[in-house]
Structures are given as structure tokens and as C-alpha cells.
């Protein structure tokens, strides 16, 4: 379950990375071409950019919140499991020591 979820998050991070690298340049170039050929004016490009920026910011914000929540839960679970292992190792060490003392 965790492996699958981790894989999904890794893929999502890669998609965000690609989006961040391509979108600004693609938007800038397409806007320049559309403005030069008088298909749209600067005001339209400005508002389209503003709406795109706002949608990206909101989607990224919620994605980041849910991802951070998942990572903290995973970290807490891992930490708890490590503590349990530590306790068990201590108990086993104690038992081994007492058996050795008896013999």
C-alpha cells in the first residue's frame, strides 16, 4: 500500500517538475506569437496568465498540504516501528545476558 502511494507521489513530483519547466516558456512564447499576429491583445494574455497562475497556486497548495500530511504520517509510523524494534532488541539482549549469567 505504502509502496504504491510512494510511487504515486514520486510520479506527481515528476509531473510538477515538468510542468514548472515547460509552462512558463510555453505560455510566454505562445502569448508573444498570438499578440504579434493580433489574435489576442496584451490584456487578454495578462488575464489568462493571471487565472493560470492562480489555479496553479491553489492546486499546488492543496497537493503540498496533503503530501506533507502523508509524509508526516509515514514518518511517525516509521519512527514508532523503530522504537518498538529498539525495545525488543533491548529485551532480547537482557534475556541473552541473563541466560549467559546462569550458565
Amino acid at each position: 500500500m505504502d509502496d504504491k502511494k510512494n510511487q504515486i507521489i514520486t510520479e506527481q513530483v515528476e509531473r510538477w517538475d515538468l510542468y514548472a519547466r515547460l509552462t512558463p516558456t510555453a505560455f510566454l512564447l505562445s502569448s508573444i506569437i498570438l499578440i504579434i499576429f493580433d489574435i489576442i491583445d496584451f490584456e487578454t494574455a495578462f488575464y489568462v496568465g493571471l487565472v493560470g497562475f492562480a489555479i496553479t497556486a491553489v492546486v499546488w497548495w492543496w497537493w503540498a498540504i496533503f503530501t506533507i500530511k502523508y509524509l508526516i504520517t509515514t514518518l511517525n509510523r516509521a519512527s514508532k516501528n523503530l522504537q518498538e524494534v529498539n525495545q525488543e532488541v533491548k529485551a532480547i539482549t537482557q534475556e541473552v545476558k541473563s541466560i549467559r549469567d546462569e550458565s
Binding site: A20, L22, P24, T25, F27, L28, I35, F42, F46, G49
Partner: protein, 154 residues
């Protein structure tokens, strides 16, 4: 594609994307600033031949500075009488300078023919200018008004 080429392409796209983002932000901020700015700053307009008598024209003087390059396309005045009648003043007997240089405060003056509807009394005059402004790659039509100029007709 080997690992080196992949890393190189990734780095290049990161840099290009960064520059694109900076360009978009700078252009966006410049556009907002240009769109919301007034044509004239520190502007003052007054009628210099108050009280206007007989068939004399109404003479206006103005001083103000422009931030951007703006050319006026239409200028007209509206005189409001004390009983709130609006009379349009748009017949120029002396023209104003259409495209003053941006930056310094430059005086400008013009005269408008006094219409027959203007009878002796006091009026509040509004001068409205319609402009086409340009800045870097932007072009915008703007309207600016200057209200409450006292006109006394005797």
C-alpha cells in the same frame, strides 16, 4: 540519450523556465502599473480670463506632468450651471499641444468658444481628455477628467 545530455537539457530548461517566469512577472507588474496610472500627475487646470465677458472665448491654462507617452485623441469640456444644466464645450478657437513630452511638467493652454447657451452666471467646468498611451510593448486607451474649474460669465 545518455545521463550527461539529460542533465544538461534539464538544467537548460530550468534556466529558460526561470527567465520566462521572471519575464512574465516583470511584464505583468509593468502592465498593471501602466494600466492603473493616470495620464497626468500633479495636474492643475484653470480658466485664466475669469470673468468671461461678451463674446470672448474661455481661455484655459494647464500644467502637469505625464509619466507615459500619451497622445490626446479628444478633449472637451462640460460646463454645469447652478441649476445643473450641462453644456458641452468642444469648439476650439486655440488648440492645445496634442502630445507633450513625458517627464517634466509642461504648461499647455487652449481656448474654447463660449456657446450661446452659456448665459451670465457661475459654472463648474469639467475638462475630459481621451488619450492613447504607449509604454514598452503596451498600448492603452485612457480617459482622465479634471473637475470643478470655476467659470464666471458676466
Amino acid at each position: 540519450m545518455n545521463l550527461n545530455n539529460y542533465a544538461l537539457i534539464k538544467a537548460a530548461t530550468n534556466i529558460i523556465s526561470g527567465f520566462s517566469m521572471v519575464t512574465l512577472i516583470v511584464l505583468g507588474v509593468a502592465y498593471m502599473s501602466f494600466k492603473n496610472s493616470f495620464v497626468y500627475q500633479d495636474v492643475q487646470i484653470q480658466i485664466i480670463n475669469n470673468p468671461v465677458t461678451g463674446d470672448k472665448d474661455i481661455e484655459f491654462a494647464m500644467i502637469g506632468s505625464k509619466r507615459h507617452d500619451c497622445a490626446s485623441t479628444r478633449v472637451y469640456g462640460t460646463a454645469y450651471s447652478e441649476d445643473n444644466r450641462a453644456i458641452i464645450l468642444d469648439r476650439f478657437s486655440k488648440q492645445y499641444i496634442y502630445n507633450t513630452t513625458p517627464g517634466d511638467a509642461i504648461p499647455n493652454s487652449w481656448s474654447l468658444v463660449k456657446p450661446k447657451e452659456i448665459i451670465p452666471g457661475m459654472y463648474r467646468v469639467s475638462i475630459t481628455g481621451e488619450f492613447v498611451c504607449t509604454y514598452i510593448v503596451f498600448k492603452q486607451e485612457k480617459i482622465q477628467s479634471y473637475d470643478n474649474i470655476l467659470l464666471i460669465v458676466k
